[in-house]
Every structure is written in C-alpha cells, then in structure tokens.
C-alpha cells in the first residue's frame, strides 16, 4: 500500500455564498504517492477549482483537504503545503515572475528562504533536469511557451515538492512544446517519484495516466484506469470531451466493420499490433 499524498473528504466549494449550486459538490478523493492522476472534464466542470483546493489557494467550505497530513484550512501549515504541492498554470506568460530564467526559477526558493549557496546549486540542478540550462540568462519574451512552462517546472522542482499539479499547463502550447513538457513530467514522475495530478480536457493526454477521473458539474462521475474509462466511451462525448483518435478509431472498427478487437487496444501501438494480428488470423 502506497503512502497517501492527498486525502479529500466530501469537499464542497462555491465562489460566492449566494450561488445556488456548489462548484465542487461533495468530492472525495485519495491520491497516492508516485501516481499520475488525470482529472478531466469539460470547461466549468470544476476541475480547475479542485486543483486550486489542493494547495490551499482555495479553502473548502465544507469537508476537508489533507495534504501529507496537513489540512489546507490550517494557515500555519499553508506554506509547507505550497512548498510540497507545486502548480503549473495554463498561461505560460502569466506565471513568469522573474526578469530572466534564473530569477524566475529562484523566485520560489527566495520565498521559502533557501540559503543562497544552496539556491545556486538547486538552480542549476533543476534547470538541467528540464533541459533549460543554456537559457539561464534569457528574458521571458525570448522563450517559447513550452520553454516557459519548463522553466515553471524547474522553479517548482527546485523546492523539492512531492506533488506537481498541471492545471491545463499544456493547453496553450504547440504540439512540440506540449510533448517536451509532458516528457519532462513523465521523467520526474518515474525517476523522482513525484506525484503528478494533471488537469486537462485533452483525453489524449489523460490516456497516459495511471488513473483518471472524469468530472461533470462539480462531481466525480467516472473513476478508473484510462482503459476502464475508454472501454465504455458512452457519455464522455455528451459531457463535451473529445475522445482520443485511437479510441474513436477502435470504436468505429468494431461498430462499422465488425472487427473483433480486444479491450486493450487503446494506444496507437496497441491498435496497430492488434490489427496485424487480425490480418494474420485470416
């Protein structure tokens, strides 16, 4: 049994008291150390709000959010929570605080009072990790969106976090920037055991997660491995989500062509292998 990183007990939240409906409606969720959890849902399903509850940017109205044993409602532990839960936001420009890459990576460490010698050491280490070492002195407007997001990740990694939340962090990036960012994150997830929570409406991206939850109107409506969820794609499209290409293809092949595909064929490679096998059987 893995260590529990995040423990959410029937969390309820709304932005204004007079709003009739909860934005987050009795959400309970456990996140274990080292896992990659994807939270999906259409715009306004509450997934970004949920993300902001995880590091105490928003505090629950009812229920509780516990991160590594600390409650986010406890102001004294808020800084420790924010150190161990890093967050990469959607817009690469609007989270770049420093005037250069170096300054930006250091910003979080400065806030947490890391001594300077250690700061310099962690700085080069984390820039190395995201492959941005050669851009140390660059100004933000000379970097691409993907590069800025990797700098943001470096700034978080420098704080030695346990969890990194990607809040739609790849939605404004071009395909290249997106795959660079995801590659770095997978690396961190595997080698450093950092728990990743990726908030996204891109099911393609979500399909590489260990576990996936689908949110709709502030509630968790589906939960399971991506395979479990894509096995029964019914309802996902109605919720405004676009299925990954391979899942759609598999479905059409089964429905229209009557092919006998197994329940594992979801990634491109699996699907191709499966089709080869079919051909061999004939």
């Amino acid at each position: 049994m893995n260590e529990t990183m995040i423990d959410i007990e029937s969390l309820c939240f709304k932005y204004r008291n007079e709003d009739p409906d909860w934005i987050l409606d009795h959400i309970s969720l456990h996140v274990e150390a080292g896992e990659w959890l994807a939270i999906t849902g259409h715009n306004g399903s509450g997934k970004s709000t949920l993300a902001k509850c995880l590091n105490g940017l928003l505090v629950p109205e009812q229920g509780s959010v516990k991160v590594k044993g600390f409650f986010t409602s406890d102001e004294d532990s808020l800084w420790e929570i924010r150190r161990s839960v890093g967050m990469v936001f959607q817009n690469p420009d609007n989270q770049f605080v420093g005037t250069t890459v170096r300054d930006d990576v250091a910003f979080g460490m400065e806030n947490h009072g890391v001594p300077r010698e250690e700061m310099v050491q962690r700085l080069s280490e984390s820039l190395e990790l995201v492959g941005m070492s050669e851009f140390q002195g660059q100004e933000p407007h000379r970097l691409s969106g993907g590069q800025k997001q990797r700098v943001a990740i470096a700034g978080i990694v420098a704080l030695r976090p346990s969890i990194i939340i990607l809040d739609e962090a790849t939605s404004m990036l071009d395909p290249r920037g997106k795959s660079d960012v995801l590659k770095v994150m997978h690396e961190l997830n595997k080698t450093r055991g950092i728990t990743v929570i990726s908030i996204t409406h891109d099911l393609e991206e979500a399909s590489s997660a260990d576990r996936m939850i689908v949110m709709d109107e502030g509630r968790i409506v589906r939960e399971g491995t991506p395979i479990d969820i894509f096995k029964e794609p019914e309802g996902l499209v109605e919720m405004g989500l676009d299925l990954p290409f391979t899942v759609k293809l598999r479905q059409l092949l089964i429905e229209e062509n009557g092919l006998n595909l197994s329940e594992k064929a979801f990634t491109e490679k699996e699907l191709v292998d499966e089709l080869w096998k079919l051909q061999l059987n004939i």
């Binding site: 902001k52 590091n55 940017l57 800084w79 924010r82 150190r83 890093g86 967050m87 936001f89 817009n91 420009d93 609007n94 989270q95 770049f96 605080v97 420093g98 005037t99 170096r102 300054d103 250091a106 910003f107 979080g108 460490m109 400065e110 806030n111 947490h112 009072g113 890391v114 001594p115 300077r116 700061m119 310099v120 700085l123 100004e139 933000p140 407007h141 000379r142 700034g155 978080i156 704080l159």
Partner: protein
C-alpha cells in the same frame, strides 16, 4: 519586435558597467546637489572635467549620450536665452528696451546651462551603464533603512521588477491587438487627429482587460509559489561592493571641500 530594449542600458564592459549600482546611485544623487556648490569658472571647470572623465570611463558612444540629452536640450536652450537676456550685471554688450545682454548675464546663462547639462549627463550615464533591474536592486538595498518607517521598500522593488518584466509582453500584446483591430477596419495611422485619438480606444480597452487578467493570474501563481511578502525571504541577486565603488564615493566626498575652497 524581439529586440526590445528596456530603458536605455547599453551593454558594455567598462569600469562604470562593473560598478555596484549602489555606489553609482549614491554618487549621482550626491552630484546633483554638489553641482550647486560651483559658482565660478574654476569650480565649474572642475565639475566639467569630472563629467568628461566619467564619459570617457563609461566607454559609451557619444551618440547614446546625445540621445539621452535630446529631450532636455530645448529646456537648456530656453534657460540659456532667458538667463542671458534677463540678468543685469557686468558690462552691457547690447541694450534695447526690455533686452539687455550683459557679460554677467552671459556668464550666468552659461553656468546654469552647464549645471543642467552635467546633471542630465550624469543621470544618463547611470542609466546607460546600469540595467534597470540592477538599479531596482540597488534602490531596494539603499532604501532598506526606510522599512522601519513602514515604507514598503520590498514591495516597491518587486513592483518595479514585475513592471520591467511585463513591458515586452504588453508591447507584444499591443501589437497583436492593433493588428486584430486593423483587420476589423480601425485605422491607427491615417485620418484626422480626432479620429486617430478615437482609434486608440479599441486598443486600450482590450489591453487593460488583458493586463488585469494577467495581474490576477500572476498574483495566483506567486501565491502558489509561496510568496508572502518580505517575510523570511532570501535573495539570489547579490550586490558586490568593490574597491572601485569606495573610490568613487571617496572622489565625490573629496569634491565637496575642494569646491567649497575654490568657490568665489
């Protein structure tokens, strides 16, 4: 668009470039007052020579200094003319009704113009040889004592550095909005003046809305990264005070008694 230069900093490797921003700030600030000690040819001569030495030491091309002077040149000329014609002392060179041109007037006009020139050149040299972010750091450091008086020194410096960081971003955004509005038929560069001023509105409104959105996002991101003001904060940027910085201040300090002795 990718080569936006903020402020007027000219990269270089001169001795002035390598000095601590604090010493430069202090020296310029002091010189602005010290210049007023000069009141005769000798003292003005000393100050002019010092200014020339500073220009040579900065190794900045004169073109850049002239650029810094240009906006103030007209003011200097007007000051010269007013002083020359309305000061009555010494021998008259020319006298007609309201206008009196006297030797004393000319001298006075020259002195005041030189005073203005020296002040502007000194501050220009500071901004030419120091990056805006270094100036901000230097100011934050120098103003530290005022924290006790509850002056928000740290916040002020952070505000400055964020403003500097967002200038290129907002300029890019302005260009984007301009293109978008031009595509919708707004004309920014032609038509009568009133129309062109009106055309600014569809540019400013989206720009402001987006700037506020950015500010909100940034505040959220800063908080997520553990920002809580000045409490328990360490700094990556270091200011290094060297021998040349002490020397610069020494020169400035020695200048005061020298000028006091030499002034008439």
């Amino acid at each position: 668009m990718m080569n936006i230069i903020i402020g007027q900093y000219v990269p270089g490797k001169s001795i002035l470039h390598h000095m601590d921003p604090r010493s430069k700030l202090l020296a310029v600030f002091a010189l602005i007052f010290i210049v007023f000690l000069a009141n005769n040819w000798v003292t003005y001569g000393v100050i002019v020579i010092l200014t020339l030495v500073a220009i040579v030491l900065s190794r900045v091309r004169l073109r850049f200094i002239y650029k810094g002077l240009k906006p103030i040149l007209l003011v200097i000329i007007i000051t010269f003319v007013l002083n020359a014609f309305f000061t009555k002392s010494g021998e008259a060179i020319f006298d007609y009704g309201w206008f009196h041109l006297t030797t004393g007037g000319l001298q006075q006009a020259a002195f005041i113009s030189v005073r203005l020139l020296v002040i502007v050149i000194m501050t220009t040299l500071l901004t030419l040889t120091t990056t805006p972010i270094d100036i901000t750091d230097g100011l934050e450091n120098l103003l530290r004592p005022f924290k006790k008086l509850r002056f928000p020194v740290h916040e002020f410096a952070l505000m400055m550095s964020i403003a500097l960081r967002f200038i290129p971003t907002l300029m890019e955004e302005t260009e984007k909005i301009m293109k978008a509005q031009t595509a919708r038929g707004v004309e920014f560069s032609s038509g009568p003046l009133t129309q062109r001023i009106k055309a600014i509105l569809p540019l400013l409104v989206p720009l402001f809305i987006s700037a506020f959105k950015r500010a909100e996002d940034l505040a959220m991101a800063m908080e997520a990264r553990g920002y809580r003001g000045d409490i328990g904060r360490t700094k990556l940027r270091l200011l290094k005070w060297g021998l040349k910085d002490s020397l610069l201040l020494l020169v400035v300090i020695v200048l005061i008694p020298v000028l006091v002795l030499l002034r008439g």
